[in-house]
Amino acid sequence: MLSALAPAWTSPTIDYHALAPEMILAGGIVLLVLLDLFVADAKKWILTPLASFIVLGAFIPVLTLALSDGGVRSLFDDRYMVDNFSLVMKGLFLLSGYVVILLTADHLREGDYYQGEYWFLLLTSLLGMVMMASSRDLVSIFVSLELLSIPAYMMAAWRKRDLRSNEAGIKYYLLGVFASALMLYGMSLLYGISGSTKLVEISKYLGTDLTSVRALAVFFIVVGFAFKVSAVPFHTWAPDTYQGAPTPVTAFLSVASKAAGFVALVTVIFVGFPGSHDVWQPVFWILSALTMTVGNVLALKQTNIVRMLAYSSVAQGGFILMPLAVAGIDGVANSALRAIVTYLLVYAATNLGVFAVVMVVARKTRSGEISSYGGLFSYAPGIATLMTMFMASLAGIPPFGGWFGKFAAFQSLVSAGTTWAYALAIIGGINSAVAFGYYGKILREMWMKPVPDGDTTPVTVYSSLSVALVITSVATLVLGTFPGIPLHFGDIAGLAGAFGK
């Protein structure tokens, strides 16, 4: 019966250049696994540089694709697109992946990690993200989502003997799967009523007129991704998981996987549901308001730095969601997309830097408590200054990157010019002030408090970590002082098939 349904099947023509990043990653992953099998434990260190080379190698075709102005490359009957948007995001994923590798390199040497598998999982998850950037079809979106999530579950639970790590993993896993199940249900409905899994088709079908079923479908899908980007009230997993997981993994989750979630969200919204903005605009309005407020308020209470950062990243997610609350209004789409991309770039640079510092400090103090940062400035001025810079950036104080992310977000809001937009902007403004409450707490510890245990031996920074620090800090500073750069990327990040183009 299926055969009867199946139309005449012709093998598609494949643009290998467009697929190069994914293929390099995939190949690399295979190579990694094989090597891991055959290399003696003494030589396992070789895997680390290999992994980083694979990532950088995958980055090369991204560059070449960006430079070759072949326009939008569409594969598999428009279900897989390589446009500027996807390229920018791929670049972001790969680079942050690279930084995460740098963060992990020394960490692995210490902890009881199985390097091979770790790299395997990390790269697989990266592959999922890279694919996510190009997916334009419910199926491929779903697949790449799982491809990036499942390894992440395992990485979260990576410290096998550590109860917290287990807990982190299981919570993340169960809730993640639950959420994706809900999303799937929504997808199934969507497919049912639109008759296609192609976003473009769906957008054709989903006119502005809404039935309750359409609304339901759209909403469930949004929920699925809202979970990924840990938007309140779907954020509950984030703090526990971030705290429990190994720090590099947390960095990875809070930056790369969050970004992936936003990429998916953006693709679905901009390509799939432009018509039904009456559904998602209010939803995003509420989500972003809730997210930043609740995130901030809860962050004020935290004593554990990683947990605090978890809530802070929740709050940051709220800021990134802001433009989506107005994206449906005529003429705002571009600036909204631009704002999101810009914010993601800046946020990635800053947050990775923060985690780098956290790891450096944790190595000395062996504690995750904020109080352990007391007097950092007195014995490690350099690190403290960097941390100050990152915190300022997260708080959105010029001239460090963060301010411009917020600026762009506010800009797209205000450009909408509706009362709701202004209201959200003001909520955002107040929140950005409140946020300093907890970012300032860390600054206060570092600059104004005495060293808790009086141990003022200077911290040691391993080479790879210092490289990571340099990259992130330079990025943060440059993005802040010359905001033209991220903005440029945001601007060129044309999303093929998106409305408003």
Partner: protein
């Protein structure tokens, strides 16, 4: 066609699954409840696919099944890990971190 019945079945399964996820304290049962949801999704997909007369639904369903398998694998592994560390699969024991 009996579309509505299929959808009903899907919806019922979905609700049972959700119910299970919410009330069951046993990790394995929660896992199974999630499987239920996924299967309800599959039923929907197939039903729609038949109605729409496009193969996309079937393909999607196949993917879902595959992914579900992978998920269950990972899930069980984790539950095992948990059991090994604390001799229990009760989710309520997992409250090291809160607040």
């Amino acid at each position: 066609m009996l579309l509505n019945q299929f959808l009903m079945l899907g919806a019922v399964l979905f609700c049972i699954g959700v119910y299970g996820v919410i009330v069951r304290k046993n990790a394995v049962l929660v896992l199974m409840s999630i499987e239920l949801i996924l299967n309800s999704v599959n039923i929907n997909l197939l039903a729609f696919s038949l109605r729409n007369g496009t193969p996309d639904g079937h393909t999607f369903a196949l993917y879902v099944i595959a992914v579900a398998a992978a998920e269950v694998g990972v899930g069980l592994a984790m539950v095992l890990l948990m059991y090994r560390n604390r001799r229990s699969v009760g989710l309520d024991d997992l409250s090291e971190m809160k607040g």
